[in-house]
């Protein structure tokens, strides 16, 4: 059995770890709440933009020929934009997204497509470097400093690749927020925009208003589509950031709980060791007294 002092030292060090993890938990909770409000503020915007697009599509068919809709029937080159965090200590948040991306990539390669990667987040970058996987582009995740301007910059860049014909399809791999307690890694197709997906929703809402478009539908259309992509990407980033903080909070809570259990176990061992020592001393004294007497 370890001696008293060793155990005491361990209790102290576990206690320190517990302090750190519980602080990190609180920090993550605060950041998560902030992200949640940002997410809630941007949701109505996204919904409204898609609604306007729906209205535009139902207003005239000529708008449907926009280059951002035109799908290549035989897509060869595929770009995956992967959004992960910069840091670890957040459970399986990063690994889940990477795993999902890698599986998807393998599937695409099997069907003889060339896959390019655009990686956001330092953790994922170091992973791909480790496995010697080439990345077309990479960058750090800006986390809470991430603004709409950053999203529009990335969106413009990706749209540029798509319109140049450098890539035929663009997918986004990120963590989707289903509810505030349920997040799932997901991959969806960003480009070409699936026009039928937008239209299906509009049939549900049967009342189609006859809008006046200023200056004209095509003009608004070519403006609103890039805006839609930007907003979409922006919310993806926000959702990822929210999920990361959520995952970190859970991981840190588990760590704090584990530390608590460990401390109580160690305290029992410590008390036993202490009692043991006292008993030994007592027997020695009694033994000594008996020998003298």
């Amino acid at each position: 059995m370890a001696n008293q002092r060793d155990i005491k030292q361990r209790i102290k060090s576990v206690g320190n770890t517990r302090k750190i993890t519980s602080t990190m938990e609180m920090v993550s909770t605060a950041k998560m709440k902030k992200m949640q409000t940002r997410l809630e503020q941007s949701k109505p915007y996204e919904e409204k933009v898609s609604e306007i697009i729906k209205n535009l599509i139902s207003s005239g068919s000529e708008t449907a020929d926009h280059p951002l809709f035109s799908a290549n029937n035989n897509p060869r080159k595929i770009l995956i934009l992967q959004i992960t965090g910069n840091r670890g200590l957040c459970g399986s948040f990063n690994t889940k997204v990477i795993e999902n991306t890698v599986n998807f990539q393998d599937k695409m390669i099997e069907s003889e497509k060339e896959v390019l990667l655009y990686v956001i987040g330092k953790k994922a970058i170091s992973y791909y470097n480790f496995v010697n996987q080439e990345m077309m582009k990479s960058g750090a995740n800006l986390e809470d400093k991430f603004s709409f301007e950053d999203a529009s910059r990335i969106s413009d860049e990706i749209t540029g690749y798509f319109l140049n014909g450098e890539v035929d399809e663009v997918y986004v791999s990120y963590t989707k927020v289903n509810s505030s307690v349920n997040q799932q890694p997901e991959i969806f197709k960003l480009l070409p925009i699936a026009s039928d997906k937008l239209q299906n929703k509009s049939t549900k809402n049967e009342l189609v208003t006859d809008y006046i478009f200023e200056p004209d539908p095509q003009n608004i259309f070519s403006y609103v589509l890039p805006l839609y992509l930007k907003v979409k990407l922006y919310t993806c980033f926000l959702e990822s950031a929210f999920s990361e903080q959520f995952a970190r909070r859970v991981a840190m809570k588990n760590a704090t709980d584990a530390a608590k259990d460990m401390i109580s176990e160690l305290s029992i061992t410590y008390n036993r060791a202490r009692q043991d020592k006292i008993t030994t001393e007592l027997t020695e004294i009694i033994g000594g007294a008996a020998a003298l007497g």
């Binding site: 409204k48 535009l56 999203a151 478009f213 200023e214 200056p215 403006y223």
Partner: protein, 129 residues
């Protein structure tokens, strides 16, 4: 019954304004556009300029930098790329920024107005009102 329009100004980052108003004037693509009660359903692009909202006993000003406006059934929705209420603008700060920008661009030999300066100028104009 009072004839009020329900108006909300949204940017991707936050909700700037929400409330009932009597009338609104916004900077559309190529000129200003006014909205009164019972306006026909309309979608328009926004330019760089200002938004004036008139309420029964008050007026609110905002600067808007591109986006879309939609009105339908007396609900006015302004989807701005960026919008700032007048109260948050600071004329002195803006003037300094503009002169800095103009200095760097004239040093670089660009005399055309950059979009950035146009935006800042619109902000300055409103802040001085």
């Amino acid at each position: 019954m009072e004839k009020l329009i329900n108006c909300s100004i949204l940017t991707p980052e936050r909700l700037i304004y929400e409330g009932n108003i009597n009338s609104a004037i916004v900077q559309a693509d190529d000129g200003e556009m006014g909205f009164l009660y019972n306006h026909a359903p309309l979608v328009s692009r926004l330019g760089i300029g200002e938004i004036r909202l008139t309420m029964a006993n008050a007026e609110r000003f905002f600067v808007v930098e591109g986006g879309l406006v939609e009105i339908n059934a007396n609900k006015l929705i302004i989807l701005a790329e960026n919008a700032i209420p007048k109260e948050e603008l600071n004329a002195a700060e803006l003037e300094q920024k503009i002169s800095e920008l103009e200095k760097t661009s004239s040093e670089a030999g660009q005399y055309a107005l950059s979009p950035e300066t146009v935006k800042l100028r619109a902000r300055l104009k409103l802040s001085k009102k």
